[in-house]
């Protein structure tokens, strides 16, 4: 790294740190700072957000106030800003920075915090079917379930309501299309059907219960969520897990990534009625799951990562079976890539469909393949350098086109990358203990971990008795779902399933 880079980073960080020097830092927050700011600083930060730097990582509420996590991507630094709102009101971030609108609506539903100036005041997670509203806030009152969709006016426009119950076995979500013939004029999503109240369950839970809950936020990312939760707890308590645990965690995370990407690549092709890819990728995915089962005792490796370390060790047999798996995938996957690339009828569907512009991806801080297919070079493994990735050499595959094809290709490259990583991890796996006992103490921690969809953020506060006082889990889908609305505009209705599957946002992780 050159000297100019360093000064550039400092200059950029200075913009953010200047603003927050007036605030009151919270000493117990690790590893990145949390600062309680006043309203004037809050407003100034909002203006910076709207300018495009820093990036919004998350916004969540508490009974007493509201927090935002910001990331200066160039400086690779994170800061959490908190604003106390005694009267339950705060200046809306979404008023100037649209990505914050849905998190603010969710915080309003859960805690009754009112963002002043929020352009869209409709509820988001709360469909009026809970029997009460603001379940985590001060007072709970029933709410009317009526909901008005945004209007699209014009001659010969018609609406197509799709879902929440779909013809296939997929999660529930409602999509309201306004179409002119076959062309989509506007898509509006309505989510929240699988709200499970995880943040409410987290409050007062033990760390053990918390880890289990985190692993169940989104089933396909159970490793990444457990890892993010464990890292946040360890940060809050200031403990460092044994070296071998770090490497085993990364091994599981990469296996999860490979399995999900293989499943996705096949599923996208299946939505273009090319079931051959679906079947073949399904076989490869199954091999990964079976190898995971052999090595870690669970196909999806659920509940294998806990605060303090990991619960299972990798045996020599397990390592050998992973080597065989990597070899088998390296042998068979290239033929499938070739099949994808040489099937003209399939390329005709994926190339140029559902284009997401780079500035949109930047504005929303879209993580994972959604951001990287549009040219946003962000990967929490690389940018946050959490162990063991700080000692592993790997690329972050990035493409510019931003269409369905690019999102498939980012996945294809990442599969290759993850196979290399699995090899490297197996080579360098250190010996030693698997876990340590975490003490029961108070503290605040934040973790950002790269799941297969993108960066998962977990923020938590532990009480004196070691129980969880408040835990917020932010799925990457929060900032990807809105972009799907943007990407589909101007495409035809029949191409929506293809675009949707290429985004593959989580319903469960988003609805919490």
């Amino acid at each position: 790294m050159t000297a100019t880079d360093e000064t550039g980073k400092e200059a950029r960080m200075a913009g953010l740190s200047d603003l927050i020097t007036g605030g009151r830092p919270i000493a117990s927050h690790r590893p990145w700072p949390r600062v309680v700011v006043d309203e004037a600083t809050w407003q100034a930060v909002m203006a910076q957000l709207a300018d495009g730097n820093p990036t919004l990582l998350g916004l969540w509420g508490e009974a007493a106030g509201v927090h935002i996590a910001l990331c200066d991507e160039a400086a690779e630094a994170i800061v959490v800003l908190s604003l106390d709102c005694a009267d339950g009101r705060y200046p809306s971030v979404g008023a100037q920075h649209p990505p914050a609108i849905r998190p603010e609506r969710a915080a309003q539903d859960l805690f009754g915090l009112t963002p002043i100036g929020l352009p869209d005041t409709r509820p988001w997670l709360d469909h009026g079917r809970w029997g009460l509203s603001r379940p985590l806030g001060a007072a709970a009152v029933p709410r009317d379930p009526a909901y008005a969709f945004l209007a699209a006016e014009g001659e010969s426009l018609h609406q197509i309501p799709v879902g929440p119950v779909h013809a296939g076995i997929i999660e529930p979500g409602h999509f309201r299309f306004s179409a002119s013939g076959e062309t989509v004029v506007r898509l509006e999503e309505r989510l929240g059907y699988v709200h499970k109240g995880i943040e409410g369950l987290m409050a007062g839970a033990t760390l053990e219960q918390g880890a289990r809950l985190a692993g169940r936020v989104s089933g396909d990312s159970t490793v990444a969520y457990a890892l993010a939760f464990a890292r946040a707890v360890e940060a809050a308590l200031g403990v460092e897990v044994p070296e071998r645990a770090h490497w085993l965690r990364a091994l599981m995370a990469e296996l999860e990534r490979v399995a999900n990407h293989l499943g996705d690549i096949g599923a996208i092709c299946n939505d273009a009625a090319f079931s051959l890819m679906h079947a073949q990728c399904g076989i490869l995915r199954e091999q990964v799951l079976r190898a995971s089962d052999t090595c870690f005792g669970h196909r999806l490796m659920r509940d294998r990562i806990i605060p303090g370390g990991v619960t299972v060790d990798l045996t020599l047999d397990g390592a050998a079976s992973l080597r065989r798996l990597v070899a088998a995938l390296r042998r068979r996957f290239p033929a499938l890539i070739e099949l994808y690339d040489n099937t003209a009828s399939l390329q005709d569907r994926t190339v140029g469909t559902g284009v997401l512009a780079l500035d949109r991806a930047r504005q929303f801080g879209a993580g994972g393949f959604v951001g990287r297919a549009s040219g946003r070079r962000f990967d929490a493994r690389r940018s946050m350098r959490y162990p063991p990735y700080d000692r592993l050499a790997f690329e972050v595959p990035t493409l510019e086109a931003g269409d369905v094809n690019a999102r498939i290709w980012v996945r294809i490259r990442e599969v290759g990358q993850s196979l290399d990583l699995i090899d490297m991890i197996l080579d360098a796996l250190p010996a030693g203990a698997l876990r340590l006992e975490v003490p029961a103490a108070a503290g605040e921690g934040l973790a950002l971990v790269e799941g297969f969809r993108g960066d998962i953020l977990v923020w938590l506060r532990l009480a004196e008795d070691g129980r969880i006082a408040r835990c917020h889990l932010r799925d990457p889908s929060w900032f990807q779902w809105p972009l799907l609305e943007a990407a589909i505009e101007g495409n035809i209705v029949a191409d929506f399933p293809l675009c949707n599957k290429s985004f593959n946002c989580s319903y469960s992780g988003h609805d919490l």
Partner: protein, 315 residues
Amino acid sequence: MLDLLVQGAQMALVLLLAPLLTGIVRKVKARLLRRRGPSVIQPYRDLLRLARKEAVIAEGASWLFRVAPYLIFAATWVAAALVPTFAIGLTFSWTADLIAIIALLGSARFFLALAGMDVGTSFGGIGASREMLIASLAEPAMLVVVFTVALVAGSTQLSTIAAFMVSPGVGLRVSLGLALIGLVMVAIAENARIPVDNPATHLELTMVHEAMVLEYSGRHLAMIEFAASLKLLLYLSLIACLFAPWGLAGAGASATACAIGLATYLGKLLVGAVALALFETSIAKMRVFRVPDFLGAALMLGLLGTLLLFVSRSL
């Protein structure tokens, strides 16, 4: 009396074979995807299950919605039974006119589209509008193909054409080759197969045929599924009868000839089913707005065949 029996056998035969053909196509596709796949007789079980189930009718559905499945089934059955399968020159073969068959299928489609719109759901409307887009291009293409064949054989009657096609005077003709390709393309579009439509999709937004019948259930759905199977059988029989009429029993033929005709017919169906499954597995579905290009090509092929015949009768 015997003639009537043979004719009746043909009508029963298409009814019996249609679900089996669908089952075979599904089985072959499953095997190609390295799946075991359901048994080939699964479509029969499905029809039986649907027939026994209660038919749920959407609120606001008119009488048309309830009548349409029977009309569609009847029209398709009659059309399928008219196409020579194992023998030509049957009692009703004078009605087995290509244009009559196109008209019967056209009216079945008309009722299906009306029924799709009848309930007033958005998917029914989308399906009906897409179906009409396809139909408005597939029917002219089909007619031009028919004209090509009719110009060569000198008749639009299937029995006459089939008899002509096996005669030594046919030879290899460019125009017939073009007509065959055109007819196969039309058959793919008409039967809602990949790449025009996907009969196995669960994605409401991409459906054409399935979107129209989304509101049907119970015996009504059974009728429509049965009609779809019959239509696939019809097109395969038609292609076999026009372009591979070998083995067909002649008018008033012996029982042995009929048996040979039946065996070759079953063989042809099997070849057709495997070819369809292979083709469907090797291609992705096209964008809705590419369908006009696809069917436009079929129309042009048929037209070219007709024009060639005006240049020279021997082409």
